[in-house]
């Protein structure tokens, strides 16, 4: 259960938002909406614990995330608008390296399964700098396939994906919600998530 109380965000001297509250149970998804510069990305970073809120608090299972520390980061999977992949490494290497850094065990078979799921099989040994923008995004998304985290925080996950991939990702998020997972995401595209309860939060 993820809760936020009275969050406030100040960037420079501008107050982007204030008094933001929400509550998210297992199996629910929070869909953040708002114009460019309304603070969507900042709110996502607050949920991850990267940016401290100017006021208010975020709690996971009733405890402040700052206090939980590593216990919270263990359940969290964050996908920012940067892909967090290394151009010099191949998709396979990127995936295994990021799994190791996240403290997970990932066999080569599982990694290849994940790459197959995002449609990159056959390119697993090609350095990522030779991949297209959409393919790089898929490498980043392949983490979602194998990491079994309860809370997904996704910043514009559908950007640069083609129609088929968008549908596939929507299905993946839906399955995650059905397993009892939580998700918070922003997107500019209209996407139909096939399962779970969707809550909306509009930042103005």
């Amino acid at each position: 259960m993820l809760e936020a109380f009275d969050l406030e965000c100040i960037r420079g001297e501008r107050r982007l938002f204030a008094g933001v509250d929400f509550r998210l149970e297992g199996g629910e998804m929070l869909f953040l909406q708002g114009k460019n510069g309304s603070g969507k990305t900042t709110l996502l970073r607050m949920i991850c614990g990267l940016t401290p809120p100017a006021a208010g608090e975020i709690r996971w299972q009733g405890a402040a995330i700052g206090r939980l520390g590593e216990d919270y980061r263990e359940v969290l999977c964050y996908l920012g608008h940067l892909n967090a992949i290394k151009e010099e490494l191949t998709p396979l290497e990127n995936l295994t390296a990021s799994a190791k850094l996240a403290g997970e065990t990932l066999t080569e078979d599982e990694a290849l399964d994940a790459l197959e799921a995002v449609g990159l099989l056959g390119r697993e040994d090609l350095p990522c700098k030779y991949l297209s923008q959409g393919q790089k995004r898929r490498v980043a998304l392949s983490r979602l396939v194998h990491e079994k985290r309860a809370l997904w925080v996704l910043d514009e996950p559908f950007v640069a994906l083609d129609v088929a991939a968008v549908a596939w990702l929507a299905g993946l998020i839906g399955a995650h919600l059905q397993r009892g997972g939580l998700a918070v995401l922003t997107t500019h595209q209209a996407v139909d998530i096939p399962a779970g309860a969707v809550k909306e939060l509009k930042l103005s």
Binding site: P52, E70, L82, K100, G103
Partner: protein, 222 residues
């Protein structure tokens, strides 16, 4: 715990191996700086022998600093740093892993190259040996302390120059005892005292500085 440090170090080493140009340019910088000094001060062997410890140590120090801005900059730019901060392990351990990798591709090669350059300065065998040992012990401290500066200046304009401004004053003790160890050998005094203090500085640099670096990284990412 060791595993997570190792995972970070292994990934950084693999990346460094794919970009060998960076590694080579740091080494060449060291070679060129050390070779410029005799041209500047004249070829008298006595003078060069006296200058050698300081010149080689300052050269190694500047070369290490040259490679510092890249320590976190690439990870910062492509979003990997956010993932490292969000990994379920203490950020300080991650930083130790990165410092270890940085030392393996900068400090270690510099230490191994130094005795060759020492020959240009007509150093004796025992001085060459102590030069290598002092660099082996001292350069980890340079990587560790330097990481604090690199983390503080992450993403700032003019970050490279700023790193030198922040880090060079903090490097002074390492320089004093590193060059002092070689100097003591040249003048016939023992280098043990210098080397043990250098060791203490290295332990501080590798095991304590990463926690300050972790705090600085969190601040830079906010």
């Amino acid at each position: 715990m060791i595993g997570s440090v190792g995972a970070v170090a292994a990934r950084d080493l693999k990346l460094a191996m794919r970009r060998q140009a960076d590694l080579v340019s740091v080494l060449f910088f060291f070679i060129i700086v050390a070779s410029l000094f005799p041209l500047g001060v004249g070829p008298e062997p006595q003078l060069l022998k006296k200058l050698a410890p300081g010149v080689l140590w300052v050269g190694a120090l500047l070369a290490t600093m040259l490679s510092l801005p890249r320590l976190f900059a690439d990870d910062y730019r492509d979003g990997t740093l956010e993932q490292l901060v969000l990994a379920p392990q203490p950020l300080g351990l991650t930083v130790i892993g990165k410092v270890v990798a940085h030392w393996l591709v900068s400090g270690l090669p510099l230490a191994l190259l130094a005795p060759v350059l020492g020959l240009q300065f007509d150093l004796e065998t025992d001085a060459l040996l102590i030069l290598t040992v002092s660099l082996l012990i001292g350069t980890p401290a340079l990587s560790g302390i330097g990481a604090v500066g690199a983390a503080l200046t992450l993403g700032l304009r003019g970050g490279g120059v700023l790193v030198s401004l922040l880090v060079l004053p903090l490097y002074i003790p390492v320089l004093i005892f590193g060059a002092g160890a070689v100097d003591a050998t040249v003048t016939g005094m023992g280098a043990e005292a210098h080397l043990s203090i250098l060791g203490a500085l290295a332990i501080g640099g590798v095991f304590f500085a990463p926690w300050a670096t972790a705090a600085a990284l969190r601040i830079s990412l906010e």
